[in-house]
Symmetry: C2
Subunit: 383 residues, 2 copies
C-alpha cells in the first residue's frame, strides 16, 4: 500500500543531487483525475517558507493536479529569490505536464536559509514526470526523507474506495503541525467543501497534538488530493474518520522516529475546564526539558510535572492535582502518593496521566524524551 | 565581602544531615537591627512550595528578623504536612532567638515531593543560632548550594552604607525568577514602602530576564533585609540602582554556573513595538531547543532563530527581520546575509542580536545552550 494505491494517482522519487549523500531527494505525486479536489493545512509559523506561501496560493481554488516535493533544502528565509525558485519549480512540472503552474503544489524540507540548487531540479524534472506511475508511491515516500530513519506510509481501505498517506518528519516536531510534509491521496469522490473541514479536523486531533520538541517549523504542509476515480461517495463523517485514522497512524510513526528519542510519551490530561486547557497543560508538560530528561533517565519525577502545570493558566487547585506514571499514582492531591519506586520506565512507551479535577474535558499530547542523541543530532548537523 | 559585610547581620551555615553527601545544607541569616525592614519576591509558579507560602505570609508586615534556608529538599508538593514542617522550622528558630515565628522566613531547595528530615533540622537549629555571627556570611552561601559548583555572592559599597547578596541556583532556571534562593542584606536605613518596589524593579531587570532552561521552579525566593545599622539613608533611586547591580551580578553568576552549559548566550531584541514584545521574542528564542543545540554545536543556525520568532505574537514582518551572531549579520531582511562561516562560536560568550524593525523597544534575555551534560545532570539525578 502506498499513495498510489488509491486509483487515479501516479508518483515517483529520484535522486536529483540536492543531498550531498546522493540519496533520493525529489518526489512527484500526480492526480490523474477525473476529479482534482484538494485541500491543505500549513504551519501556523509566521515565518513561512517560500513553498508554503506558494502552495497556500495554489490551493485557493481547492484544485491540484500535482505536488512536487524536495528534501535537501527548506527554501525558507530565502527572500524573493527563494520564492522565484519555488515558482520556477512549479512551472517546470507544469510545462512537462502541459498544465498551468497554478495546479502544482511545492513542498520543501531541509536546512533553512540556503538556496536550492535549481540547476539540479531543472535537470531532474523531465525524468521525474516521465517516470511517475502507479507503482511509484513507495519511492516518493523515500525521496522526502531527511533525518527520518524509515519512510512513513499509512492507509485505510473502505467499501469501494481507499485513502493513503505518506509523511516525513523527525525533528522540529511541534504544534500547529509537527515538522513534516504529508501527502494524502484518495480515490473517493469528495467535494472541496467537504475535503477542507475533514482535513482540518483530522489534523487537529492528530498532528496538532504531537509535540516532540516544541519547535515549530517554517515548512509544515499537509495536502490531500481526491481523484474521484473509485466513483464512491463516502459521507463526510466516514471520510473524516478515515482521514483521521491515516493522520493518526502517520503521527505515531513520526513520534516513533523522532530524532534521538528513547521514549514515546503519551500525556493524557483529564478533568480540565475545557479541551483547550487540557491541551495547554499537556503541551506545557511535553515541553518541559527537566521532565523530558527525567523520562530519559527513567525517573518518575512527578514534581517536575507539577512545576510545569503550575506555569499554566488552566483552572486547577494545586492541592487537587493527581499524577500517575504508567498507572502508578505517584502524586495524589498535589502531594506524595504511591512510592515512585513502583514505576517502571524501562520500556519505550510511557503513559503520564494528569487529573486537574476542574471539569470534564480531556486531551492527549504525545511527545518524546530529551536525550544525548537529540542534542547530538541537533548540535552536530545543521537542519 | 559577604552578606554579613553590611553592619547589623549575623549568619552561618552547617551540615545538618539533609544531604546524603554530608555537605553543608542549613543556613541562617539574622538581622540584628536596629531596623527590621524586609521585602520579598517569589516564584510566579502556581504550584508553590510550603516555604514560599509561609514566607509570603510572614513578609506581609514587611518585617523580618531571620531567614533559615535549607538545601537537600524543596519541601514542595508535600501537602499540609509539608507546610507544618516549614512552620515548625520557623518556630524552632524563633524559640532559640526568643522572638515570634512570624519574624522568621524559611527557604528550601532540592527535590520536589519528598518530606524534610525534621529530626535533623530540630537537632541542628540550636547550634545554627548559636554559631551565627558577623563572620559567617560565606558559610551561609555554601550551605544553600545544590548542584551549584561554586557559591555565589555579590556586593556594592556606597557612601556610608553597603549592600550584599548571596544566591544558589544552577538548574530549573526560568522566568519570573530563575530557580534560586537569594538573600540580600543592607545596612542602609530604608522604609518598607521604598524597599518593596526597589526589589521588584531590580528583579524585573535581572533575574526575570534569565531563562536558562525554560523551567520555572516552585521555590524561587528573593529576600532583602535592611538593618539600618549604617545610619545612612540612600534615596530610592540610589537604592534601586545598587540592588539592581547586586541582582545582576548574581544573575550572571547563576548563568555561568548553569547545569551542563557550555555557552552563555545573550539575546538582545531591538526594534520591538513594546518592551514586553521584546522580552517575549527573546524568551521564545531562549527556549528553542534546536537553537540551543545549535549553539552547543557552534553552528550559527539563524534559520532556527527565525523559526522561533515566527511562533510569537510580536509585531514584525518576516521579510524585515535581521539577526546577527557575535556581530556577523547572517540574516538581513529575513533572508541570507553574511556567510555563516564568518561566525566564531568557540568562546563561552555568545551574543545574538535581533532587530524586529517594528518599534523602538529593546530587551535582553540571557540563556544557556543545550548540551549532553545538561541532559546527563537532569536525567541521572533527581532534583
Amino acid at each position: 500500500m502506498s499513495i498510489t494505491t488509491p486509483r487515479g494517482f501516479a508518483a515517483t522519487g529520484v535522486a536529483a543531487g540536492l543531498k550531498s549523500s546522493g540519496r533520493p531527494d525529489l518526489a512527484l505525486v500526480r492526480n490523474l483525475g477525473p476529479d482534482f479536489a484538494a485541500a491543505g493545512v500549513f504551519t501556523s509559523n509566521r515565518v513561512k517558507a517560500a513553498p508554503v506561501l506558494w502552495t497556500e496560493r495554489v490551493l485557493a481554488d481547492s484544485r491540484l493536479q500535482a505536488v512536487i516535493l524536495n528534501s535537501g533544502g527548506a527554501n525558507a528565509c530565502t527572500g524573493p529569490a527563494g520564492f522565484a525558485d519555488t515558482h520556477r519549480t512549479a512551472e517546470l512540472v507544469a510545462t512537462e505536464l502541459g498544465i498551468g503552474a497554478i495546479d502544482v503544489a511545492v513542498c520543501s524540507t531541509g536546512l533553512i536559509g540556503t538556496r536550492l540548487d535549481m540547476a539540479a531540479i531543472e535537470a531532474a524534472v523531465p525524468d521525474l514526470v516521465a517516470n511517475a506511475d502507479q507503482s511509484g508511491g513507495a519511492d516518493a515516500a523515500v525521496a522526502i526523507m531527511t533525518t527520518d530513519t524509515v519512510s512513513k506510509q499509512a492507509d485505510v481501505t473502505a467499501d469501494g474506495w481507499s485513502i493513503s498517506g505518506m509523511a516525513k518528519g523527525a525533528g522540529m516536531l511541534a504544534p500547529g503541525l509537527a515538522t513534516m510534509l504529508v501527502v494524502i491521496t484518495t480515490d473517493a469522490v469528495v467535494q472541496p467543501a467537504t475535503l477542507r473541514p475533514a482535513l482540518a479536523e483530522a489534523c487537529r486531533l492528530t498532528f496538532d497534538r504531537l509535540d516532540s520538541d516544541g519547535c515549530m517549523s517554517t515548512n509544515d504542509t499537509v495536502i490531500v488530493m481526491a481523484s474521484g476515480a473509485s466513483g464512491s461517495r463516502p459521507d463526510p463523517t466516514e471520510l473524516t474518520a478515515a482521514l483521521t485514522t491515516v493522520c493518526d497512524d502517520l503521527a505515531l510513526q513520526l513520534l516513533a522516529d523522532a530524532e534521538g528519542a528513547a521514549h514515546n510519551i503519551t500525556i493524557t490530561v483529564r478533568g480540565a475546564a475545557s479541551e483547550q486547557e487540557a491541551v495547554d497543560v499537556g503541551r506545557t508538560i511535553a515541553r518541559n526539558n527537566l521532565f523530558k530528561c527525567a523520562i530519559f533517565g527513567q525517573d518518575p519525577n512527578w514534581g517536575r510535572v507539577l512545576a510545569a502545570i503550575g506555569t499554566t493558566d488552566a483552572a486547577f487547585e494545586p492541592d487537587q492535582l493527581d499524577v500517575s506514571f504508567n498507572g502508578v499514582a505517584v502524586c495524589v492531591g498535589g502531594a506524595i502518593g504511591e512510592p515512585r519506586e513502583l514505576v517502571d520506565l524501562s520500556g519505550r512507551e510511557v503513559q503520564v496521566d494528569v487529573d486537574l479535577h476542574a471539569g470534564g474535558h480531556t486531551a492527549t499530547i504525545r511527545t518524546n524524551d530529551l536525550t544525548y542523541d537529540y542534542v547530538k543530532e541537533n548540535a552536530e548537523y545543521s537542519s
